[in-house]
């Protein structure tokens, strides 16, 4: 889940750099921390902006990490900045890939069979009732945030929303300008499965049900 930063030039930022030496593992570990939780590939430019480093530094660190994950000994005489990168010489179970201009950590391709079996174990072809209801709420109230869907359904819907996204039935449609929350909408695959041409063709439901405005009154009473 990367976000593009409004960037002053990377030189400006570097002058104002975070003191990575105070952090365990330094800038390399900081970059690794970001990569580990990034959902979508991030460009070296975005990473540099977020880390307050120059693009060149980040690119060098990315290549170092990539080689280290692949098992190369990174402490080579020509790479003085890699002094603390260790002597790892066996590949890790994950790899850092540069896909279409963005970097992301993936499970290593050689383990695809094992990982695939683990992921697919127990997966069913059917949506649960919770998933169906959540999909219905999103379809009729889109674009809508997870928090709002949770409020309507009365339970946390995070994992169900992940499943629906994974299934290609809903997708990220930007963020709410006010709250910054991700808004979800149904996909064309959803329309295809429903056998309709657009969401406008969904059958009407009672107009008296709370709309997005009314829901506030119903559900947001409990201030947190």
């Amino acid at each position: 889940m990367s976000k593009s930063h409004q960037e002053p030039s990377s030189e400006d930022m570097a002058s104002d750099a975070t003191d990575f030496s105070a952090l365990p593992g330094g800038a390399r570990a900081a970059l690794e921390a970001v990569l580990m939780v990034l959902d979508v590939p991030a460009s070296a430019t975005d990473l540099a902006a977020g880390l307050n480093l120059t693009v060149e530094t980040v690119e060098q660190l990315l290549l170092e990490l990539q080689r280290e994950y692949d098992g190369y000994t990174v402490k080579a005489p020509d790479m003085e900045t890699a002094s603390d990168a260790g002597f790892t010489s066996s590949p890790r179970g994950f790899e850092l890939r540069n896909v279409a201009g963005g970097w992301r950590i993936y499970s290593r391709a050689e383990f695809a069979d094992i990982v695939g079996a683990f992921v697919l174990e127990g997966q069913t072809a059917r949506l649960t009732q919770a998933a169906l209801e959540t999909l219905a709420v999103i379809a009729y109230r889109q674009p809508v945030s997870r928090a709002r869907v949770s409020a309507i359904r009365g339970v946390n819907v995070d994992s169900v929303v992940r499943t629906l996204t994974q299934r290609g039935l809903i997708e990220d449609s930007g963020t709410d300008p006010e709250s910054g929350a991700i808004l979800y909408r149904t996909t064309s695959y959803f329309l295809e499965r429903m056998g309709i041409g657009s969401v406008a063709e969904l059958p009407q439901i009672s107009p008296h049900l709370p709309g997005l405005d009314g829901i506030d009154e119903f559900y947001d009473a409990g201030r947190m």
């Binding site: 959902d39 993936y106 997966q123 499965r193 063709e201 439901i205 709370p210």
Partner: protein
Amino acid sequence: MAESATPLAERARPAGTDDGGAAPEAGAAPEAGAAPDAGAAGAKKPGFEVRLANFTGPFDLLLGLIAKHQLDITEVALATVTDEFVKYIRNLQSLGEEWALDEASEFLVIAATLLDLKAARLLPAGEVEDEDDIALLEARDLLFARLLQYKAFKQVAALMDATLELESRRYPRQVALEEHFAAMLPELVWKHTPQQFAALAEAALTPKAPKPTEVGVAHLHGSPVSVREQAELIGLRLREGGPLSFRALIADAESTLVVVARFLALLELFRDQVVAFDQVAPLGDLAVRWTASAEWSSDQLSEEYEDQP
């Protein structure tokens, strides 16, 4: 369980120092840690200031008032506290704060609590004479126990807050399934027509009636409990197990009704002079002793409770 799972209490403490005091101080003195509202008000600050958004309940306020005066609850200058409470309410009114019914009733509970406390305080210690006095004494103990319990929960809530705050600095890896795996998922079975889907949406969007707050009606339909049977049971236990505390005698009671029945049974047994009571300290545990011969039977009980649940 794991190396990563350090006991909370140990981890919560460093949090205060790591974060430069941003997190509530887990190890702080009970008063300060327990009542941030009161702490914020400070000892010097005039008036009792509570921001409505932060206000969480009568015990909170009561604790705040007590903490502010740095007094043990048993020595609270009630007149001062009460005056201050009234002043607080007037102040709110003068500020034009709108009162929701909920909040207004919460304040009523405070008023009632203070009144209870005051009434209990009026009772001179050690001169318990009639049943009303005992009831007042119990009310005071109960109130005191409740305040202590509330305070304990407030303290662990502060610990939990610090832990949650500390833990929120770790972000879990939670990435979308890599595409080649997503493609391997079994094809979705979809059987809903648009109309069925709309019905589903309609049901999901209909505001749910708030879940009912329980009304204690169970006792109305509870199976009858016989005092005689309970007396029989108590007799059996006392004859076999020697002196037992009342607490032990009701430990397995499955409902309040059974507790009441056993209590009544004990009174009956006492009247029939087959049991005796020993109490070491005032309000301490009551030990019940069997004093009659082994041949006693519940048939000898008075008929008063016959066939009455």
